[in-house]
Amino acid sequence: MIEVKNIIKSYGDGESRFQVLQGVSLEMEDGDFVVILGASGSGKSTFLNVISGLERPDSGEVLYDTIDIAALSDNELTSFRKENVGFIFQQYYLLPNMDVDRNVKMGADLAGNKDYRTVIEAVGLGEKLHKYPSELSGGEQQRVSVARALAKKPKILFLDEPTGALDERTGRQVLDYICKLKNKYNFTIVMVTHNGNIAEMAKTVVKMNSGKITGIYRNEVLKTAYEIGW
């Protein structure tokens, strides 16, 4: 279980100091599918960075069961990310001089996962094992980044606008792969998006505005990627 307590995060100094997160608190169950919804500048990406251990809050606690990751040292935080967390970004950030196999191995090696090629197969890229990122379409590149994140067997998968750079059809396809793999491996998903329709796929929807949570609701009936509007 992830418990976030009264997180405050600011950027800048002096007069230009700006509070991006203004005392955010939230609870997420294991295996949950949480979508953090908000407009640009609402603080949703900063919130994702803080709860995933990429950034430290100015104050507040981020508890994973009993461990407060905000209080961990740099090395402990690295170790925490290694053992618990997977990331998928809008821009994929694949290593350009490595093929699909090696890019996924980057994640797999951290978990000692020798069987990582099954994940590559699962995202439909078994035939493109030796293709380089520049030889793949945007959707395929994002699927490689999905495979890379899942090959390290994370307990929680953080996604920052994973479909932001994709067209509608490809975006749905990527989301569909993620949902299928979630059902298979049962990890927790925390996804940041500005696309309200994607929220219909999630169990828990958190709405953010101006650095605050403005609403939390749960979907009783979950839609698939192909059932939502775009």
């Binding site: 990406s45 960075n49 990429l54 950034e55 740099d74 090395n75 690295t78 170790s79 925490f80 990310r81 290694k82 053992e83 967390v85 990331f87 970004f89 821009q91 994929y92 950030y93 694949l94 290593l95 350009p96 001089n97 490595m98 093929d99 196999d101 090696r102 191995k105 980057m106 994640g107 797999a108 090696d109 951290l110 030796h130 380089y132 990122p133 520049s134 030889e135 590149q141 390290k152 920052d160």
Partner: protein
């Protein structure tokens, strides 16, 4: 336009190397020209042998040092221009899209020749400052008649004017060649498109870890940087060991000069090469850190591959300095009386190696520590 003196100032490596090359070559070539003018005044056989040895030394030093350092400077210039174009692809693409021709953009690269001008001018001036002492040492026993220092415009032309013009033209030509790409390929974000894909396609899958593979890829992807690191270690090894032998074979001044040149060349080249390696891999390091790779693993993947390269450079430098001194003693100065016997100095080699390992590992530790400072936001801010 977009390339200015500020960009040329980053080519400090070329300035340092050309300064060292011109310093050494000017001293020896000027000496050669001045000593040639007194050939008719030589009457004794001993003087003639000494004269011939001095002439041969000047030629060998000019050719070996000058040639070696010239090649390194040219490689470094090309590397920097390619690096500049790679990191400014978008801006150059926009210029091309606006209608600027390749040549019109490339002409702006002439400013890179300023780095050569700066280095050669300092080297040339420095050589003339050191010349009185150098001439006195070369003829310490007064075997030859008095050798007067003269200014030879041809030396200035060869070592200052021509390198500056040559480097400017080379920069323009190389940039022009590199800019001959479609506008779209320049405009696209290089992070996703610049890969040389075909080269490694045939490679069989092996079970090497990601870190080991990245180490290999980093080393292979920038061969020029590998060359610079090899060159830096080579300079350190050959020049430090040679400087100790020179103290006995020639003079303390020659030894000290060699040591200083060796250290300056080695550290400048190593510093520039490793800094470029780190900058070029910032995104990879940031991504590895995000995924949970430790600082040590990142350092091993990015910098670890260069360790064997630098030790190989040290070994080559050791062999090179031994061979060069052997040739000088056994061939060039073979008829000289009172020439001390030359033996390979094992203690000096071991001390040089120990100092080299110590400095190299400290430098790597400093760079490794910088990995901690690479912000993971670096990758997210795009």
């Amino acid at each position: 336009m977009m390339i200015g003196i500020k960009n040329a100032s980053k080519l400090v490596g070329i300035s340092v190397i050309s300064c060292c090359a011109v310093l050494v070559c000017t001293m020896f070539l000027n000496f050669y020209l001045d000593i040639s003018s007194i050939e008719d005044e030589i009457t004794s056989e001993l003087s003639l042998i000494f004269y011939n040895a001095q002439v041969s030394t000047a030629k060998v030093v000019c050719l070996v040092s000058g040639g070696c350092l010239l090649i390194t400077s040219v490689v470094m210039l090309m590397f920097y221009i390619k690096h500049y174009i790679d990191t400014h692809k978008k801006e150059l693409g926009i210029l091309k899209a606006l209608g600027y021709s390749n040549l019109k953009i490339a002409v702006n690269f002439w400013v890179f020749g300023i780095s050569a001008l700066l280095g050669t001018a300092v080297g040339f001036g420095g050589a003339f400052l050191l010349m009185p002492k150098f001439y006195a040492l070369q003829n310490e026993d007064k075997i030859l008649p008095e050798i007067a220092i003269r200014f030879h415009p041809t030396v200035f032309l060869y070592f200052v004017v021509l390198p500056t013009v040559g480097f400017s033209l080379l920069a323009i030509g190389y940039a022009w060649r590199k800019l001959k790409k479609p506008v779209l390929s320049l405009l696209k974000n290089d992070f996703r498109t610049f890969v040389k894909t075909k080269k490694y396609r045939e490679e069989k899958i092996n079970d090497a870890s990601f870190v080991a593979y990245l180490k290999k890829t980093t080393l292979r992807s920038k061969k020029t940087l590998t060359f610079f690191i090899l060159f830096a270690s080579f300079c350190f090894s050959s020049m430090t060991q040679m400087s100790f032998s020179m103290k006995e074979l020639s003079s303390e001044m020659m030894g000290a000069m060699m040591l200083i040149i060796g250290l300056v060349l080695a550290f400048t080249t190593l510093f520039l090469a490793v800094t470029t390696v780190m900058k070029g891999n910032t995104k990879t390091i940031a991504m590895m850190r995000i995924f949970g790779y430790s600082q040590k693993e990142c350092a091993m993947a990015i910098l670890g591959g260069y360790r064997p390269v630098s030790y190989t450079g040290f070994a080559i430098g050791t062999v090179y300095q031994y061979a060069l001194l052997r040739i000088m003693v056994d061939i060039v100065f073979k008829d000289m009386e009172g020439m001390p016997a030359y033996q390979f100095d094992v203690p000096v080699m071991l001390i040089s190696l120990a100092i080299f390992i110590l400095i190299y590992e400290i430098l790597m530790a400093v760079y490794s520590d910088q990995i901690k400072k690479i912000s993971m936001k670096e990758i997210m801010m795009e």
